[in-house]
Symmetry: C2
Subunit: 283 residues, 2 copies
């Protein structure tokens, strides 16, 4: 799936508007026919492509995208996961190669994977403008499919001034404004992230900068069960934070404790049943 | 799963004979407590470990192997998959990092992954005695769980002289002798493989060397559907052969054609419903 995305298989099949043969796809994408045929057949097995035999030729298969590929794997789709997949393919996969070292040492593996000091994980993740841009585009991919659920988990319409801490490329803010038309969202992030967000992701019409004291904070996180017995996706996220950052996933009780210590009196938790959950703290 | 195997988590829990805390496991295996706790919880989510809370302490979890881990993930079990997993972890994973290049170029990725010439894939796989030994132990892991099914797919009792081409570490031969007590099996492989097999895997009592003209040949392969639409495991195997070797997976018809060309008149195919299938050709 990752390789077919990287090579542009799904984009080509969307643009062509008709099923294509393995040879045609290989020629268009500058790939070997032997390798491409095998990749396409594996994508059929994974239900990312559908193949039909030509009536005339008899033996040649023609490939087309399945609906799920058109929605999630083409670059141009509003719900495209292309950017986050490329981030996983080119950064996360390389860190996970050193998972055993990460568990032994209890720290991230940027040094082994990229020769970069592990002391400042966000410095490592944002080691070049290009890498930062890829990460921001990747985060936007995620919020294009997960954003609405976490924002609708609570009725946030009483909050007209909303602050998105670490809001990056602005896709969550965009979902928020769409769901709560009376809200304004202020994105807080590192200065260089904000600069790129303004240049590349959020147009001036969309953006409003505001400051506000007090209010509520919505934590958008993937919650561990209280006994940490699951969900397995969240446990694996926590493994990933070990190899890539200094953070970890937490239980609802752990987040509540953090919020209480920061002076939030009323704390409520909602699980969305999807990857990200919502914790609301009020001052 | 791979990292917990590599660090020896399942072996330690088997040997200890009692559930252990995360701190105890980390200390025994020389790992960080922070990384180990996260790894253990992820293994609980993957159902490779079970955790129970201590009654006295209240909050500390004790971890033990699940049955599947005792059978397949401990080194000492007769059905241990430890060696093949280490092979996947340290060789296959690294080649798959370059899957897009493999599809572009239509050839294996030993050069990018290990700086080794891709022209002789078995030379690359057997680039040192240690690597060859790991590969042979890995193959033996596979036959310890898949061997009996392919050998029982046909009644091979009429064949008392059996030749195992590329028989490596001898685990398939051992299953064959166990299932057909009247058979003798001759392993054919590269001279250095045979030497290591004799020294490390097959004791003199087990081994009989014999030659025989004619007879039958049992191809033990993972068969693609005739339209190559699946099974997805076999398609992924074929992708792996692209990044690691020069071979590919084939359909039953393709194998039949190869056998016919080699003079085998009667060819029969049986799918086992598991990973490997059986094709019998008779002369």
């Amino acid at each position: 799936m990752f390789t077919a995305c990287e090579l542009g298989v799904f984009d080509l099949l969307l643009e062509s508007g008709k099923p294509l043969s393995s040879d045609a796809i290989a020629a268009c994408l500058g790939a070997s026919t032997m390798g491409m045929e095998r990749l396409l057949d594996a994508c059929v097995g994974l239900k990312l492509l559908a193949a039909e035999m030509t009536l005339e030729g008899g033996k040649e298969a023609l490939y087309r995208n399945t609906e799920i590929s058109n929605i999630y794997l083409t670059k141009s789709s509003p719900k495209s996961q292309y950017h986050i997949m490329m981030y996983y393919s080119n950064t996360v996969y390389l860190c996970w190669q050193y998972l055993a070292d990460a568990v032994r040492e209890g720290r991230n593996q940027y040094e082994r994977a990229f020769g970069i000091s592990p002391k400042d994980p966000f410095g490592a993740m944002y080691r070049s403008d290009e890498e930062m841009l890829k990460f921001m585009a990747g985060q936007n991919s995620v919020w294009s499919i997960c954003g609405r659920d976490v924002l609708a988990a609570f009725d946030l319409s009483p909050f007209t001034q909303i602050y998105d801490l670490g809001g990056g490329g602005g896709a969550l803010a965009r979902e928020c404004v769409s769901l709560y038309p009376n809200s304004t969202v202020t994105i807080y992030d590192l200065p260089k992230v904000v600069q790129v967000a303004k240049e590349q992701f959020v147009s001036p019409e969309e953006r409003q900068i505001a400051f506000h004291e007090g209010g509520g904070v919505l934590l958008v996180e993937s919650l561990l069960n209280e006994d940490k017995s699951g969900p397995v996706e969240t446990q694996l996220y926590s493994m990933n934070m070990l190899v890539q950052t200094e953070g970890k996933e937490r239980t609802a009780a752990e987040y509540s404790k953090l919020l209480e210590a920061a002076g939030f009196g009323v704390i409520r938790v909602r699980r969305t049943g999807k990857l990200y959950d919502a914790v609301l703290g009020r001052k």
